[in-house]
Symmetry: C2
Subunit: 333 residues, 2 copies
């Protein structure tokens, strides 16, 4: 069932069928109806490959993330997919894992598939050196590259990020205001995002007159269990802390576990602040005070930016979305 069959059935030429289907140019209402009828009857759908061949696009964007099982990534995938679908774009998903070579290979596969753009979820895709990022710049020569919560300067590279610096600074300042004196920054990887959070952490404690030391930062393992063990070890080594600012909720949950398992009272003896305000924040007892970075808005913004880019509209390369501190049971002694 192709356009020729429909044309024959409707008694018109394929050009007219095409025009009706793409409502391009003007077609008389009468023939329009005849064509639509035929299309309806045969349940005809234009062949996407032939279409792609002509238009050089299949209205598809590639999405790359490290790990879809991370609830934060998962939520982002959901929001992005909804936004794209609303704009008639489909989503090709790649879960790359942490290996840079895999990321590179996957990106080039997406390009070979002629995606119209690539969205990268998380700053884990931004490497430290120009050299390591080169594949991104090269990709940007073919299609727009957008970061969700990341940033990389370059032609045809865009990003939307939450204001991690301000959000963490505000959260830590608040906790210090309730009487905490020994803050700890708990994170799990040296990503760009973690860097911004750390800077906000430092700024907040220095504003409070507490001199910063690298010993106030704890690089934890990858999950709640390991974070808890990490904190226990730190305590054994005479590290004192009465405030844990975690880079994400899972680590904060680890801090809660640490406190519960060591008999430290929350929030009387220790305040804990998570980040992302994911559903994990409501899965522990007490529930987590956490920074909501408005992921939904960020995703919406990324999709908006993308559509404007497709329209050749000039837009700023970076959009910043403010965070918000959600108060629950792990702070406010």
């Amino acid at each position: 069932m192709n356009i020729y069959d429909i044309a024959k059935k409707a008694g018109v030429s394929i050009a007219t069928v095409s025009r009706v289907l793409n409502n391009s140019a003007r077609v008389s209402e009468a023939t329009r109806q005849r064509v639509l009828e035929a299309v309806e009857e045969e349940d005809y759908k234009p062949n996407v490959f032939a279409r792609g061949l002509m238009l050089n696009t299949m209205k598809t964007v590639g999405l790359m993330c490290q790990d879809a099982s991370d609830p934060y990534m998962g939520a982002a995938i959901n929001y992005l997919e909804a936004g794209l679908r609303g704009r008639d774009y489909e989503m090709l998903l790649c879960c790359t894992g942490p290996d840079p070579e895999d990321k590179q290979r996957r990106l080039s596969q997406l390009l070979a598939r002629k995606v119209d753009a690539v969205i990268l979820i998380g700053s884990s895709f931004v490497e430290k050196t120009e050299e390591e990022n080169r594949y991104l710049y090269q990709a940007a020569q073919q299609v727009p590259i957008l970061f969700l919560n990341g940033i990389l300067n370059g032609e045809n590279i865009y990003g939307c990020m939450s204001d991690d610096y301000k959000a963490v600074k505000h959260a830590v300042s608040y906790a210090l205001g309730t009487g905490c004196r020994s803050p700890l920054f708990l994170y799990r990887a040296d990503t760009m995002s973690a860097g911004r959070k750390k800077a906000g952490f430092i700024s907040a404690i220095e504003d409070a007159g507490i001199p910063f030391s690298e010993r106030m930062c704890c690089l934890s393992g990858r999950n709640a269990r390991e974070a808890a063990e990490c904190l226990k070890a730190l305590r054994q080594n005479h590290g004192v802390f009465d405030l844990v600012m975690a880079a994400d909720d899972e680590l904060a949950v680890g801090a809660v576990k640490y406190a519960l398992e060591t008999g430290i009272r929350i929030p009387e003896d220790i305040s804990i602040i998570g980040y992302n305000n994911s559903y994990l924040a409501q899965c522990c007892t007490p529930e987590l005070t956490s920074v909501d970075n408005h992921l939904r808005d960020m995703c919406g913004s990324v999709v908006d930016m993308l559509m404007k880019i497709f329209e050749k509209e000039e837009i700023p390369h970076t959009t910043v979305i403010p965070g918000e501190l959600i108060m629950r049971g792990t702070t406010g002694r």
Copy 2:
């Protein structure tokens, strides 16, 4: 940069270039090298649309799930993507939400895109009536349909599922063996999977000589917080229970919250068993005893089945994977 350019550059015809790239037929080693050189130099990649037009496939499978932010779905997406990528298939992801009409529309969009198969994650895609499932049967006339943890009988429809019945039966029997006398089944939706679990629950308690009553089943809200409230309400209404068998970990976490907030000791006064053995199981204190349904194996199995289907191999329509009870701190009084 197309196949003609490469042919010219290598001094051969396009047919030869095509032959080299698809290593079909025999090509003399000399010309082969010349072609590969040209391909390399120009970094030539065949146009996927033209390719699709000829072969009528782009090696893509559609994946449908209700909600990618669910960690269970997310993990499945990860595993499936890895499996497919290893077989040179790409993945088109649809997050449908719960509305049946959306599911139907999204599926037909995938078909219009000429995906080679569709994988549905979770039994939420199987409806109660034939009528409601008709779109699935129709889709199966075009491409194979595979369920991850679901089942629907029909031509060209396949599924891999965990043995929820046995797994729950075993878990509940174990808990009853430790002395629990008032079991409760906590679930959140009347899916097929929940039905199998419930059946296992009933069988276990009847084996233990406890007569089943519908009051032993609690249909909870959608998250941990709501599950906790649900149990509190139940208790107010004089419902007694010292064992909660939850249909997933998030609900089990809700049960833990309920116990912690009401001052009920775990596991002395109440045993709690989760399902999925997701990372949530390690996010609460005490950590959850949970049923691991070997999601990784299930996903691997689905991909294997799919590849065999593509090879026109005859395979059983259903594969069953056994579950396993992982012991942690919420059971064993």
